[in-house]
Amino acid sequence: MSAIQPSVAQDRSKQASAPVGGSAPNAVGSVGAPIEYILHLADNAVVLGQRNAEWCGHGPILEEDIAMGNVSLDYIGQARLLYQLAATRMGGDATEDKLAYFRDETQFRNYTLLELPHNGPLVGYAVSDRDYATTVVRNFLYGALMVLVWDALEKSPDADLAAIAAKSLKEARYHLHHAADWLVRFGDGTDESHQRAQAAVDHLFPYTEEFWTPSVAEDAAVAAGAGVDVCSLRAAWDAIVNETLSEATLVRPQVRGYVPEGKHGRHSEHLGYLLGEMQGLARAHPGATW
């Protein structure tokens, strides 16, 4: 399929026009990232975007309520571009909406870290139990990875993926900056905020082990010359994380060898509920528009 260029006067309510990447109209056939790899990047973005959007109307302060809404918009925007690219390359009747709304839990390739609720361990899952330190720590740990991933993918010979990476990098820098600022504020703040930030770090840090064990899709993307070897980013990620934690007077916990497998499709119990909420309307009313 080479139908990346959108059709004339396309009805936007059916499907948004697929974006055109760099100078090469279609990278498939030259250097193209595997579809599974693009879906991994897209699923990460949509799941965290959906998760963070839960703060909409429930933020701890108005400014942060708005900030999380905007960060979510960025993530969902990135996810859309990636799903559109995947759908174009899959051809047939694939669309961004089908990829986001009509795949089941085990087909999602996101990191487990991103699907966890905003609640720390040993508390309930009620809205009132949400913990903003958990939100900030997750956004920080993932944000530190994504500035590096997008920075590398911006140079990918897969022109379509590189174009998405160039835009996403600009947004990821703001996300990381925002999360790092709050992490320092919490960690180096009051006794209560320090304690909760440290608890969130201790809870979430083990999930980052998943970043450093490449999946088949990631290996295939590297082999194709279009992806990034995540392990090559680890030293830079460590530098960002260690320096920020130190500034925040927080301690990096020892990791004990547990490696989550979300990107292989083996998820925690939390993803199903998240997808239930995200996909419910599209599945109850297929083709619904507004």
Binding site: Q5, P6, V8, A9, R12, A16, S17, A18, P19, V20, G21, G22, S23, E63, E64, I66, A67, G69, N70, V71, S72, L73, D74, Y75, I76, G77, Q78, R80, L81, A144, V147, L148, D151, A159, D160, A162, A163, I164, A166, K167, S168, L169, K170, E171, R173, Y174, L176, H177, H178, A180, D181, A236, A239, I240, E243, T244
Partner: protein, 166 residues
């Protein structure tokens, strides 16, 4: 007798950003190019932030204006080169300021991501669009839209939006 490309530019000249109605799509750098190809005329637009909800409206506005002018042209969304606030013209920046939005500083693309965190750049000295004072502080890095941060002027005490460098 103007060329069809000139006619397209003319028919789109009045279109403004739905959220910032004082600047045109061309001034913002969203309307990138109009070219004549063997398959007809192509209008190229580029998205700002990936999730900007105004993009759908902008695309519709472009199609609507073309229809109204009776011009058959294809509207193409192109991601690369990535949109940057550096493309916003000086005239448009002044219009933003008069409208109450502090215009964006030039981007700093040369900073590596690790260095970016290690020596986090001091926030830009943003001048208050009302009184011109640079005695201002960030209230929030995200404002009423993804592209803006919320600032406060410590002299005239007014809150204002800052269009972030992108």
């Amino acid at each position: 007798m103007s060329t069809v490309v000139e006619q397209v530019w003319a028919s789109l000249a009045h279109l403004t950003d739905p959220e910032i109605p004082v600047v045109t799509l061309r001034e913002l750098g969203i309307l990138r190019d109009v070219t004549e190809t063997p398959d007809g005329v192509e209008v190229v637009i580029t998205p700002t932030y990936t999730g900007c909800p105004a993009m759908g409206q902008i695309e519709d506005d472009v199609r609507g204006a073309l229809d109204e002018a009776g011009i058959a042209a294809r509207v193409i969304t192109r991601l690369a080169p990535a949109w940057t606030t550096d493309w916003i013209s000086d005239e448009a920046k002044e219009k933003l300021r008069v409208y109450g939005i502090a215009p964006p500083h030039t981007t700093r693309p040369d900073v590596s991501v690790v260095k970016f965190m290690r020596h986090r750049p001091a926030p830009d000295a943003v001048a208050c669009p009302r009184c011109g004072s640079i005695h201002t502080v960030v209230s929030s890095q995200f404002g009423s839209t993804a592209c803006k941060a919320l600032y406060k002027c410590l002299d005239c005490q007014e809150p204002f939006d800052y269009f972030k460098p992108y």
